[in-house]
């Protein structure tokens, strides 16, 4: 009984540490302007979910029992996995949107450059 209790506390501490590290790291990246606020929200929400589940053992155990998970702390990592899949899917969508915009921009630039190239020489602004 004591052994199981001790193990549970260790995993709880680890989960809390991971959550805090993720959230503080995210904030630091935003502060350094390496991460946009929009994307930081995803990671802050993800961190909060871990933190809440790690802090409130009762909630964790209720949810785990309800979902048929036998070892409640693994629920944290299970949920984390699903959320991560969602984040990756969302990022692929962002990437697709960026590719489309990038293509349109390159095409516009190419036509503009050709237009400038075709201008008569004496039409340069003085």
């Amino acid at each position: 009984m004591f052994g199981a209790q001790k193990f549970d506390i260790r995993i709880q501490v680890i989960a809390i540490a991971v959550a805090l590290f993720l959230m503080l790291g995210t904030l630091e990246l935003v502060r350094r302007r390496k991460l946009g606020e929009v994307y930081s929200i995803i990671w802050l929400v993800l961190g909060s979910v871990i933190l809440v589940l790690a802090l409130f053992r009762d909630l964790q155990e209720t949810l785990a029992r309800w979902m048929g998970v036998y070892y409640p702390p693994s629920l944290i990592f299970g949920i984390l996995n699903f959320l991560q899949l969602g984040v990756i899917l969302y990022l692929s969508m962002v990437l697709t949107r960026l590719e489309t915009r990038h293509r349109i921009l390159m095409q516009r630039l190419a036509l503009l450059e050709q237009h400038v190239y075709a201008l008569p020489e004496d039409s340069d602004p003085q």
Partner: protein, 245 residues
Amino acid sequence: MTAAPFRPLLVVPAWNEAGSLPGLLGALRAQYPQYDVLVVNDGSTDATTEVARVHGATVVELACNLGIGGAVQTGFLYAQRYGYDAVVRVDADGQHPPEAIEHLLRSLDEMHADVVIGSRFLEAGGFRSSWLRRVGISWLGFLIRILTRQRITDCTSGFCAYRHGAVEFLAQHYPQDYPEPESVVLLVRNGFRLVEVPVVMRRREAGRSSIRGLRTVYYMIKVTLAVLVAAMRSPVRSLADGHHT
């Protein structure tokens, strides 16, 4: 049709084609001195732009390589901006015979088509690709026939003529990465009239197909998926009146 002379644009997508452009552009200028030729330099690292300009073509340069879809679409955008009546895509690798361009363009009017596809398989003769590739082309043709009820024998052919309306549409909606079969579905679904005419194609003179090895598998998966999804999308423009939304 207006009384003004018919003005088509010949679009040559080119990625590192400095070696093969002189032959093609020379032939185009000899056979079609009255037509404008646009070379779309798709981020080449060789002298494609300079060679094309020396041989009298207008050149549009993409800053990085977009792939054939993005390059051909740039040709549509150019044709739309400068009000051309039609576009013919002619590849620089020597497979598309310049002498057939007139036939494609004439067929636009004679067959009342919005798009004319030059097909290797409608009549015997010429270079018809390898056995395995023909199986792949048949599979895509089968899918397209199921999805659009239209029989297209050579849906991977890039040797096509597009009338003004189709050019304007594709300037906005042309597919990317291996665009040909998907564009057939897209065009039919949006009420454009596609016809095929027989064309005798040649073996490529320069370079080799970009679709080889593992990419063949990727090509088939990507294009099959794209064709299926294209058939699931609702039309972008109204079928009834042909106006653009």
